[in-house]
Structure formats: structure tokens, C-alpha cells
């Protein structure tokens, strides 16, 4: 075991898989020699060689398409989209191609690729370095969507994604790369060091896709969250003084519906938290599922705490960001409802 932040844990996952499987390789913009703008692929080229971790042209569509071709050949490429906000030129390749090649070829061709991409705000990145586009991918049949919230899961889930025979979109919450930011932005941020979920085995291990993690057991209300918002949800529950059960979904597709159902049936209340804008966000899907499956157990309307339906504004980051105060307000309202 070693204490790792999320960047080191992700790097360790790539290193472990590249050491074990010569079919695993990594590429992306600035991701080779330099090791990525967030350093996730640091030293992989130096250790594993030029053709196993290399720089790509600034062409997200080309990066995705090349990975698809490699996947079809039988490799397991892991590509980096430098910011989730830059993923859109690759959207056609991911949505029309990666997601559908298995189906349209009658299972003859498959695309076992992993698309890594830092996402989310709270870093003063403005509208082009802050977005959370996960629901654009959960909507697509044939794509898995995974979002870790801590170093331990980041490594285990990334290894699972690489070993998965389907295309996996792996969003990395960049705000918590270096510490479990809880949304109280005026307080100093604690680093991962010393956190139990920062204790990461050096070797390979797998955290299965489709299995949620209960971050806090509670009796009064269920909070569904993922990525950075897991930590915000915990802080919001503490601030509200509510005995909340906080579920870190970890993977949006496949979704651990059993864990959600069991929890909401127990608590009778549900609050959903995500950073992406509200309209057609993943919270809408979660809300529909809970309503369909737990309607007779619900004692209050399901609440959503989300980003607003506006582009991420540079100067109003903390008004946009659904912080612990807004989570606490929603919890209190749900408890009264």
C-alpha cells in the first residue's frame, strides 16, 4: 500500500496494465513525453517506450477514431481527452461508431477502448475547462460511463475499464485530483494524504463496474452522487445535521440499481446531486428510476441539486457550483416534505 492522490492512482493503474498487457497503450494531446497537462501519464513513455505512450495531434475526432481502429485490431488503447470540454469533435466517432460497432457487425467487431477525460469545474476554468458532459454519453446505448471519487476507486475502476470489452468513457473529476474537495471553497483544501481511500495497493486490483459504494450509511434520506459531488454531498449532510445515506454511484452505466433501490426503500427520501446543468442531466434519469421503482416508499418528492442551465461562468463559479449549502437546503426541504 502507498498513499496516492488521484493522479498518482490513475498513473499507477495505467502503469500496472501496461506492464501486464502489451496490448495496452496510451495516447493523447501532450500525454506522451510531457505526461499530460494533469500529469496522469507522467513517465509512462520513459518507462514503457515511445510507441506505448505518445503525443497525439490536436484532433479529438482523430484520436477517438484511431483508438477505435486499434481496438478493432485487438489492442486496448486508453486515450486522453485533455478536457471533457474538448471531447465534442470526437462525439461522432464515440456515439456513431464506438458505441455501435459491436451491434451493427453482429458481434464480429468490438471496440475495447477507454476514453479518459478530466471533467468538472471549481478550478476557475471558465466555460471551456469546467463542463460535466456525462449525460451526453449515458444517453448512448453501447457506451459505459464511469466516474471515480477517490484514489482507491480511480485505480481499480480504471483497470476494470481497460479490461472491459466495451468502450468506456472514464471521466476524472479534476477538482479532486489532489484532495477530497467538499465544496466549502473558502476553507483550505485537505490533500489526499492520510485519507483511508488514498491508501492504494501498488499492484493490480479491480473494482467492478456497476457497483456503487456506500460512503455513509444513514436512515433519513438517500443522496445519490458521483465524482466531486460525493464529497459535497457528505459535507452538505453534515451541515444540515441529517442522517443521510450517501451513495457514490461510481459507474453511471452500468448502474447499481439494487443499491439505489435498497437505500431509498429504507430511507423513503432521495436527493440527487450533480454538477452538470439540470435539464436532461443524469439526475433526471435517476429521478425517473427512483420514482418508477420506489414510488410507494417515497415520503417526499425527489429533489435535484445541480448546476444551472447556463454555461459555466468564470466569475460566478461558486454561484454555479452546487455546493454544500444548496445540498443542505435540499435535504432540509426533503425532510420536511
Amino acid at each position: 500500500m502507498a498513499s496516492m492522490n488521484m493522479i498518482q492512482a490513475l498513473n499507477s493503474a495505467l502503469d500496472a496494465k501496461m506492464s501486464e498487457d502489451p496490448n495496452v497503450l496510451s495516447f493523447g494531446e501532450d500525454a506522451g513525453y510531457f505526461g499530460g497537462v494533469f500529469r496522469v501519464t507522467d513517465q509512462l513513455q520513459q518507462k514503457h517506450g515511445l510507441t506505448r505512450s505518445f503525443d497525439a495531434p490536436i484532433a479529438e475526432g482523430g484520436i477517438a477514431a484511431a483508438a477505435i481502429g486499434m481496438g478493432v485490431y485487438g489492442l486496448r488503447p486508453v486515450i486522453e481527452m485533455q478536457f471533457a470540454d474538448y471531447i465534442y469533435p470526437a462525439y461522432d466517432q464515440l456515439v456513431s461508431e464506438a458505441a455501435k460497432i459491436r451491434y451493427r457487425s453482429g458481434g464480429e467487431f468490438t471496440v475495447p477502448i477507454t476514453v479518459r477525460s478530466p471533467y468538472g469545474g471549481g478550478i476557475f476554468g471558465g466555460q471551456t475547462h469546467s463542463q460535466s458532459p456525462e449525460s451526453l454519453f449515458t444517453h448512448i446505448a453501447g457506451l459505459k460511463v464511469v466516474i471515480p471519487s477517490n484514489p482507491y476507486d480511480a485505480k481499480g475502476l480504471l483497470i476494470a475499464a481497460i479490461e472491459d470489452d466495451n468502450p468506456v468513457i472514464f471521466f476524472e473529476p479534476k477538482r479532486i485530483y489532489n484532495g477530497p474537495f467538499d465544496g466549502w471553497h473558502e476553507k483550505p483544501v485537505s490533500p489526499w494524504t492520510g485519507h483511508p481511500l488514498a491508501e492504494v495497493p501498488e499492484g493490480k486490483y479491480v473494482e467492478p463496474l456497476g457497483k456503487a459504494r456506500i460512503m455513509r450509511e444513514g436512515a433519513d434520506v438517500t443522496i445519490l452522487a458521483y465524482g466531486t459531488m460525493v464529497w459535497v454531498a457528505l459535507a452538505g449532510a453534515e451541515h444540515a445535521g441529517v442522517d443521510a445515506e450517501v451513495i457514490d454511484l461510481r459507474s453511471l452505466v452500468p448502474l447499481d440499481i439494487q443499491a439505489i433501490e435498497a437505500s431509498v426503500k429504507k430511507t423513503g427520501r432521495c436527493v440527487i446531486v450533480h454538477e452538470a446543468p439540470r435539464t436532461s442531466g443524469y439526475g433526471a434519469e435517476l429521478s425517473a428510476l427512483v420514482q418508477e421503482r420506489c414510488f410507494h416508499h417515497l415520503e417526499a418528492p425527489i429533489a435535484r441539486v445541480t448546476g444551472w442551465d447556463i454555461p459555466y461562468p468564470h466569475a460566478f463559479e461558486w454561484e454555479y457550483f452546487p455546493g454544500p449549502q444548496r445540498v443542505a437546503d435540499a435535504l432540509k426541504q426533503t425532510m420536511e416534505g
Binding site: E29, D30, G32, Y33, F34, V37, L50, T51, F54, D55, A56, P57, I58, A59, E60, G61, G62, D85, Y86, Y88, P89, F124, G125, G126, Q127, T128, H129, R278, T279, W308, D309, I310, P311, P313, H314, A315, F316, E319, Y320
Partner: protein, 410 residues
């Protein structure tokens, strides 16, 4: 079954020099100043293909203007160009420092590339629409856009004309012919072509000008732009600013070792000029050629401006991790400010004292602007009213935004 003579192997290009290595620009295709012919502006693209591989230069090592591309500018225009470049560099230094002082979240310098925007700001008019990237601040500065207003944007303060919505340096000014900058690369390039098509459609006399970096020519949008520009003979000037580095990726990662960036135009049937981007006169002359061609309804020109990104990519970057620290000292095309200064001195129109005065005046001008802007406030000290964050998402607010705004209590 076919047997290959040798097993296949994957090639990944590498730059000639990394940190600790001796800088090496021997791969750069150069021409002597004055050596490249100037074709007629109506020349058919297929008759001038070699211009995509040559390098148009006017200023020689002694600071003389030589050859057919000399735009023969009057001394006052040259002096103003030099002052604009000095002011741009001074502004950059001050704002870079402001970031270090915690006054803003981000900044990007254009050091070493000033000749491009400062010359083109004058060749093209502010009625023409410019579609810049994030390193053409010289366009605004050379056109006299208020420096304090630029700073207000950088500080996202209450006087920021784009209301604190964008990352610092993502300016927007319709009045100054400066289209709103996107943080997504290459998107503006085909948009410029569309703007030019609209001008042609309306029988107008305006042209569009676009800039893109060497790295972003890899994006599909670059190729979309060239296709549309060729097909519709759009009145647009398509600049490729080849500054050698796209963050940590050398220009070879975008295909620059295989051919020149200018030569990409050939496949789309467009004329191309490859130009010394650190030579104010060469930039001016080539831009003028392309502008005249566009205004004569003869369509688009691709201009590759060969330059060097002397500073880091942004305040979030550290080039010492991926390129030799002294690479700029070995850059064969020198410093655009020093070269124009040398030219003016050679003409007898400038001297060291006047240069020192110009530098001092630039520092004063930037200092005064900073005083004005910082009196309003730096990042976090001052900002537009919170309710503006819900405005202009659509032409008018719908019920969702009204409710969300009310939830914030504004």
C-alpha cells in the same frame, strides 16, 4: 501469404531537441531575404505552388528591406508598428505578473509573435471581421482598444465587457473586428469562411480573417474551412501561426516534419504563402497580397506565418519540462521587435534613445491602464452583478432560468 521485407513498426515523431539538448532548427526550410518572387494577386493557385514551400522574407541580417515583397512603408507606419509591438510585449509582461500576484486566474503571452497581429491589425480593417485564437491580443492593442478594458476582462471585474463569463484573455469586440474567442481549438476557422461567404452573398466589400495555430491544423475544423473556402471562393485570409509548439507538442506532431503547413492549401486548390512571421514587413506584404486577392473576389489565401512561441503556453505551463531552455536564443528568425528596430535604425528613422523612450512610454501607458482597471477591482474583488449570469443564455429568459435565478436570490 505476403511476407513483408521488414516487420512493420510504428513511428512516433520526436522533436530534434529536449531539455538539456542543444537546440536544433536545421529542419526549418529557409530562404534568403528577398529571394522569393511576388506573384500577381490574380495568379492561379497551381502556378504558385512553390510559395507554399519557400519563405517570404524582406528584412535581411543588416536590417535592410530587400526584394519584391518590400511593402515600402513610410517611416511613421514603421515606427507605429514598432511601438505597437513594444506595447503588446509590455502589456503581456504586466499581466503575466498580475497572475503571479494573484490578481487573475490565467494569462497567455504572445512574446516573439508580436509582428503578426500588430502588422495585420493595420493591413485589415476593423470592418473586416477577425476570427482570432488566444494569441492575437496585438490586434486589439495595435488598433487602440483600451488597455484598461482588456484588463477588466482579465480581472472579470464589474467593468468586464463580457460580464465575467469567460476565461481571462478570451476577449470579444465587434467594434474592433474581433470575434469572441473560444477556448475550443480551431472552431473559429470555418466560421470565418462562413462570415466571408455571407459578405460575398450580400455583395458587401468586407473580408474575413482567421488565425489558427500549427497544432490545431490537425482539427477537422481546419480542413472544413479549407474545403468551404475553396469550393465557394470565400473572401477570407486563413492564417496559420506556426509557433513551433502546441503546449508540449512540437509542430511535427501536427505533421510539420512531413510538409509545410502552407502546403496543406494545395490539396484544396487554394494559393498559399509561407512567410517569416518575425519579419514585420514580410507579414505586412503577404497579408496585403492576400487581402487584395480576397477583395478582388478571387477567394481565399492560406498564409503560414513561421514564428516561435518564446513564452510558456499559458500561466499553467512549464516549458522547461519539454524543450531546451535556450531554444529561443537559437531561433533562426530572431525577435520581431529587435528586427524592426534594427530596420528603423538602419533607415536613420530611429535610435536607441528613442527606443528606450518608447519602452518607457509603453510601461507608463500599461501602468496607467492597470491603475484604472485595478481601481475597479481584480479577480474576486469586483465582478458584475450575479443576476447577469442568467442573462443572454437565450434571447429571452425562459421559466427554468427565471426559477433558477430566483433560487439564487437575485
Amino acid at each position: 501469404m505476403r511476407k513483408n521485407a521488414v516487420p512493420l513498426s510504428l513511428r512516433v515523431p520526436e522533436p530534434p531537441a529536449r531539455p538539456g539538448d542543444k537546440p536544433d532548427f536545421s529542419h526549418l526550410r529557409l530562404d534568403a531575404p528577398g529571394a522569393v518572387e511576388r506573384p500577381d494577386v490574380a495568379a492561379a493557385p497551381e502556378t504558385m505552388r512553390e510559395h507554399a514551400f519557400r519563405l517570404i522574407r524582406v528584412l535581411d541580417d543588416e536590417g535592410r528591406a530587400v526584394g519584391p515583397w518590400d511593402p515600402k512603408l513610410d517611416p511613421e507606419t514603421l515606427r507605429q508598428g514598432l511601438r505597437d509591438m513594444v506595447l503588446t510585449r509590455t502589456f503581456d509582461d504586466r499581466m503575466h505578473r498580475a497572475h503571479r500576484q494573484g490578481k487573475t486566474s490565467f494569462y497567455m503571452k504572445c512574446t516573439g509573435e508580436e509582428a503578426i497581429a500588430c502588422a495585420q491589425a493595420k493591413v485589415f480593417s476593423r470592418e473586416d471581421m477577425g476570427f482570432p485564437t488566444y494569441r492575437q491580443q496585438g490586434l486589439l492593442i495595435a488598433r487602440g482598444y483600451p488597455l484598461a478594458t482588456m484588463m477588466n476582462q482579465i480581472y472579470s471585474n464589474a467593468a468586464d465587457p463580457i460580464k465575467g463569463r469567460q476565461l481571462p484573455i478570451m476577449y470579444s469586440s465587434k467594434e474592433f473586428g474581433f470575434f469572441t474567442i473560444s477556448g475550443n481549438l480551431g472552431t473559429q476557422y470555418p466560421q470565418a469562411v462562413g462570415w466571408a461567404m455571407a459578405s460575398a452573398y450580400k455583395g458587401d466589400d468586407k473580408i474575413a480573417v482567421a488565425w489558427i495555430g500549427d497544432g490545431a491544423t490537425a482539427e477537422g475544423d481546419f480542413h472544413n474551412a479549407l474545403t468551404f473556402a475553396g469550393v465557394y471562393r470565400a473572401p477570407v485570409v486563413l492564417n496559420i501561426v506556426n509557433n513551433q509548439w502546441a503546449i508540449s507538442s512540437f509542430q511535427g506532431i501536427a505533421g510539420g516534419m512531413e510538409t509545410t503547413f502552407a502546403s496543406k492549401a494545395i490539396g484544396y486548390g487554394l494559393p498559399a504563402l509561407r512567410v517569416d512571421g518575425n519579419d514585420f514587413l514580410a507579414v505586412w506584404a503577404a497579408s496585403q497580397w492576400a487581402a487584395e486577392r480576397a477583395r478582388s473576389n478571387l477567394g481565399a489565401t492560406v498564409i503560414e506565418l513561421v514564428t516561435y512561441r518564446a513564452a510558456q503556453h499559458s500561466t499553467s505551463d512549464d516549458p522547461s519540462r519539454y524543450r531546451p531552455g535556450d531554444e529561443w536564443d537559437h531561433w533562426p528568425l530572431g525577435d520581431p521587435v529587435a528586427r524592426l528596430k534594427q530596420h528603423l535604425i538602419a533607415l536613420g528613422e530611429w535610435d536607441e534613445d528613442r527606443h528606450a523612450e518608447a519602452e518607457k512610454a509603453a510601461v507608463e501607458q500599461v501602468r496607467a491602464a492597470a491603475k484604472e482597471s485595478e481601481a475597479i477591482g481584480t479577480l474576486g474583488q469586483s465582478r458584475p452583478s450575479v443576476k447577469t449570469m442568467f442573462e443572454e443564455v437565450f434571447a429571452s429568459e425562459d421559466w427554468r432560468l427565471r426559477e433558477q435565478r430566483q433560487q439564487v436570490g437575485v
